[in-house]
């Protein structure tokens, strides 16, 4: 097990590593080291590649688990007519996921191998890698590209939750607003600049490289019979572990030095919760986790340690998700704050789980992407799993535990403000609720209730207008520093 390195999070593996091969010896695999560890690059033809992917049922590792062979086929149809582009989605929008980052910083050539293999098979002349933010990952992949002298284009994405959605990535590459497109378009047919595009997750390309180098039979040597291969998991937002599919989750947690605690969230913030009992035994596979009520997703595993209020943690995350909405679909933009309100009501005992269920149902199936669905699933599974805590809240209005913030959230940047009411001046005019209904509602008496989410970008101009228009000048925008001062 490699200890914490300068390059970032801890990386470990259960059984034999494949993607993380060589990490014991090297911090970063440059070209020579990569060739030494993984051997020569084989670039099979498209038909062979598709056959291999079919045989091992290689699935995308970005969360949707789309069969990769099918994707190859769909894009391959355009080989004669179109100018195909290959896009590596390294956006990794979720705060709890680190695997793409790890791959890019420590094994960039594995990813590049996969991209080159796909590009060669599809006779594509353009490879694009979409990276979020500027950090060690960007530097590393840039250096790797320079080493191989490949004509690979790097696109920088904003670090938002929905940045990693495939439609949003394509739009960002095209230079448009990086939000999921309103109408679903098949990237395989119309992607970058309207050309047929093969877009897949970083890990998928890395797996493709391993598949090509090992061959289908050897590749299927680990994992389950229906889901061969390994998978990268991010545990606790701090450790990346490679494990063969089918390993019990308990083993993985143990390898990472944690336990199931109060419950385990699998599949990230669009996934589902598992009770500790279930979590220890459930196999890490799509089938196994889905059967248990969770999902594999992008391999995010977040155990919730004891000592923190689970409901509060869930509320905190849901607030973040509500603020991260792209803001273009009504059911998501307005429905998610409703879920937060319902959770708040649940937490102080004034509401029940039905309130959450009702609020969460509005987004179902509606919207340009899966954000409302995923958030709903996350919230609903939470109230199932933490039933005990719920009862305590309902009866006593609180469980007495503080919220320690164990579930990871991105750091708050300087410009993040909140709306606050100066109660000495507020006279219940109510203009604020009309201008910023996502965040401010009026209670029975006509006074405002300000939701404690951050101010999403599409709300900012209205929030400023509300501050200016309040007849009593009772609304203000505060910055986190000011809030911290007030707290002390």
């Amino acid at each position: 097990m490699t200890g914490p390195t300068l390059m970032g999070p801890m990386v470990t593996h259960v059984d034999a590593p494949r993607l993380t091969l060589g990490f014991d010896r090297f911090e970063r695999l440059d070209l020579d080291r990569h060739r030494a560890v993984h051997g020569r690059l084989y670039e099979p033809r498209l038909s062979k590649l598709m056959a291999m992917a079919d045989q091992v049922d290689l699935r995308g590792r970005g969360g949707a688990a789309f069969p990769f062979a099918r994707k190859l086929r769909a894009v391959g149809r355009h080989m004669t007519t179109g100018d195909i582009a290959v896009v590596v989605n390294a956006a990794e929008g979720e705060p709890g996921s680190l695997k793409d980052h790890v791959l890019l910083t420590r094994a960039p050539h594995l990813v590049l191998d996969g991209a080159v293999i796909a590009a060669h098979a599809l006779e594509s002349r353009e490879i694009i890698i979409a990276v979020a933010g500027k950090g060690p990952a960007l530097r590393s992949i840039r250096a790797a590209i320079a080493e191989r002298k490949l004509p690979v284009r790097l696109v920088e994405l904003t670090e938002r939750f929905i940045s990693g959605e495939s439609g949003a990535v394509v739009r960002a590459v095209n230079g448009e607003t990086p939000v999921p497109p309103g109408v679903k378009v098949r990237t395989a047919d119309f992607g970058v600049d309207g050309r047929p595009t093969l877009l897949s997750n970083t890990e998928t390309f890395a797996q493709l490289a391993v598949l090509s180098s090992l061959g289908a039979d050897l590749y299927a040597g680990v994992g389950t019979s229906t889901e061969p291969g390994t998978v990268l998991l991010t545990v606790g937002g701090s450790t990346v572990v490679e494990t063969p599919i089918g390993t019990p989750l308990g083993t993985v947690l143990e390898r990472c030095g944690t336990t199931a605690g109060q419950g385990v969230l699998v599949g990230g913030y669009h996934g589902g919760w598992l009770t500790p009992a279930v979590a220890t035994h459930v196999p890490v596979s799509r089938a196994g986790l889905t059967a248990a009520g969770g999902t594999l997703g992008a391999g995010i595993v977040l155990p919730l340690s004891p000592g923190t209020c689970p409901l509060g943690e869930v509320t905190r995350i849901t607030s973040y998700l509500a603020a991260e909405s792209a803001g273009q679909c009504g059911p998501c933009r307005l429905g998610l704050p409703d879920v937060v309100r319902a959770l708040n009501a649940l937490a102080d005992g004034s509401g029940g789980p039905e309130g959450v269920r009702r609020a969460a149902s509005i987004g179902r199936g509606r919207g340009a992407c899966s954000h409302p669905d995923g958030t709903a699933r996350f919230a609903l599974s939470a109230i199932e799993v933490f039933e005990q805590d719920l009862t305590v809240h309902e009866v006593r209005g609180g469980c007495g535990l503080p919220v320690r913030g164990f579930l990871p959230l991105p750091m708050i940047e300087g410009g993040d403000g909140r709306l606050a009411v100066d109660w000495t001046r507020c006279d219940g005019h109510g203009l604020c609720a009309h201008l910023v209904p996502e965040i401010i509602r009026l209670d029975r008496n006509g006074y405002p209730i300000v939701l404690n989410t951050g101010i999403p970008p599409w709300v900012e101009s209205n929030a400023r207008r509300a501050v200016a228009m309040c007849p009593a000048l009772a609304l203000r925008l505060t910055t986190p520093d000011v809030r911290a001062e007030r707290r002390n």
């Binding site: 603020a323 102080d348 100066d422 209670d443 008496n445 006074y447 209730i449 707290r487």
Partner: protein, 250 residues
């Protein structure tokens, strides 16, 4: 969490379009055919920009006064009235600028008179003072959000009331300076005065009768105020509790 301007799709084509339109206007005005059009525009502005400044100012004041009403208007009407108030102020400032520029070009006023209220005729001096007051008032309006965090919220209202002085001076300036007004202009002055008068009356009623709008006995209004205070306290503490709950303690 500011959306970078480059991300907003609308803004991207706005700047080049604006430049293209401005260039088009500049080129078009240089052509002789454009000269005819521009002369008509100039004639229009020479005659009417002053009038429209006053009309815009009046509309703005009436809208602003109307926006304070709680008895008749629903909240969304109040917001629209405020939006109208801002738009009208903006338009009347634009007309003010064009009025001043045209008067300088036609040598009816000196450049100095724009800055200082001097001159042979007091009429123009009145206009200068009115314009300066208008600008101050508009600036307070723009910076209203700053006052939300300041310690003296009453200051904003006090400064903003200068608009009445500006308006009165503007009316007198309009009647004294310039040409003899045709009948309809005089009537429009009367209408402006009447409009603001009515709006002021409505505003006065709001201050005298707080929300609810019914005549109250002193005890009733006191108990109502007490109830309101209690309700406000309840909302505040509920809010605080909600905030505490998800506050991360370290």
């Amino acid at each position: 969490m500011d959306t970078p301007q480059s991300e907003k799709p609308g803004v991207r084509w706005l700047v080049p379009a604006g430049i293209a339109v401005t260039a088009g206007v500049l080129i078009g005005a240089a052509t002789p055919a454009g000269a005819v059009v521009v002369t008509e525009i100039q004639h229009f502005m020479d005659f009417y920009s002053g009038v429209f400044t006053l009309v815009g100012l009046t509309v703005s004041m009436v809208a602003g006064l109307v926006a304070t009403d709680r008895m008749i208007l629903k909240i969304q009407h109040r917001i629209l009235a405020q939006a109208l108030h801002r738009a009208a102020t903006l338009i009347s400032m634009a007309f003010l600028v064009s009025h001043v520029v045209i008067e300088i070009l036609t040598r009816n006023a000196d450049v100095v008179q724009v800055l200082l209220p001097i001159g042979r005729t007091s009429a123009i001096a009145l206009g200068t003072v009115a314009a300066h007051l208008m600008i101050i008032v508009a600036l307070t309006g723009v910076a209203r959000a700053r006052f939300a965090t300041g310690r003296r919220p009453w200051l904003w209202r006090a400064l903003h009331w200068l608009s009445y002085a500006a308006w009165i001076l503007a009316i007198i300036h309009g009647l004294l300076a310039g040409r003899q007004a045709p009948v309809w202009v005089t009537w429009s002055y009367l209408v402006c005065v009447a409009g603001v008068g009515v709006a002021l009356l409505a505003r006065g009623l709001v201050t005298v009768r707080p929300r609810g709008g019914e005549e109250e006995l002193p005890e009733e209004s006191r108990s109502k105020a007490a109830k309101r205070k209690a309700a406000r306290e309840a909302s505040r503490s509920a809010q605080q509790a909600a905030n505490e709950r998800i506050k991360v303690s370290r």
